[in-house]
Subunit: 175 residues, 2 copies
């Protein structure tokens, strides 16, 4: 059973290992593949109004999410989130648990929507999950992501409107 | 005649005055309206591969642009730009000179496109200018910007493909 809880400093070694793996693979995140540990801390560890969480399965950290306002000032009523799951724990509901937690958090914090700015269009597992959670793709920026094996592929802008009723829960592991 | 040149440290007082005015008005940029001078420096002054420029009219700085890659790593072949014009110098071709300079810079640096992530949809003067420069709106995120008088309005994602021939120059002040 996957549980999601707030990040603690003692989680950092495993969270950094997950980030390092995902970022070096360079096939799902528009981050610098050579990102240093210090840059990863600055990119991923948020203090309020942002929040960093981890997904825990049998006391092991298997995924993480970084949540917060998508833009400052007049754009700060829209939230955003980034999600990473350890390679050996994929396809086991970890991303789903993190996504449901993120949307529940955003509703609770009063955000009007959650926006993903750059979902790689070949990351179909993530896109399918986000669609099940209630996200829609507003547009795709063609060729905006240099994929290591597929060449230039698109980046989707995805949005989940939080002003309407939530999509019926597809899991009982959160909230 | 408006000329565009690289930013120099001695330009900062007037550039900061322009940024402060634009950001406090809070009607065109999703920046913190209370942005400090230090934050403004970090947000606006880019070193390579980015570039900050100013528009100069009769030796007076009347506008500025901040240019660079839109995202790191696998997204770094797409450029972005932000433009600000002093209130008393609007509707005089300053934005056009900055926009043409930006696109010429992006072509020269080998970017595949220039992307604007968040153009306020009520900023019709800017949108018309960008369209004349060759940008198209790929989508509008509804209600993503809290406008001080109009309430929640949309943010446009705009893109100019640089792989095709340039739009015929509409001004002789750049290049």
């Amino acid at each position: 059973m996957v549980e999601v809880r707030e990040f603690r400093q003692s989680d950092w070694p495993i969270v950094w290992a997950i980030i390092h793996d995902v970022v070096s693979a360079a096939d799902t995140f528009p981050y610098d593949p050579a990102m240093s540990e210090r840059q990863a801390r600055e990119t991923w560890l948020f203090s309020p109004p942002g929040l960093t969480v981890v997904a825990v399965d049998a006391d092991r950290v298997v995924g993480t999410a970084a949540l917060g306002p998508n833009r400052p000032g007049p754009g700060s009523h829209i939230s955003t989130g980034s999600f990473m799951v350890a390679a050996e724990s994929r396809n086991r509901g970890v991303g789903r648990a993190l996504g449901e937690y993120a949307l529940a958090w955003a509703r609770r914090e009063g955000y009007a929507a959650m926006q993903f700015n750059a979902v790689v269009e070949t990351n179909t597992a993530a896109i399918r999950l986000y669609e099940r959670l209630g996200f829609v793709t507003l547009c795709t920026v063609p060729g905006a992501f240099e994929h290591p094996s597929r060449g230039r592929v698109g980046l989707n802008l995805m949005l989940c409107d939080l002003s309407s009723a939530p999509v019926q829960s597809i899991s009982a592991t959160t909230e």
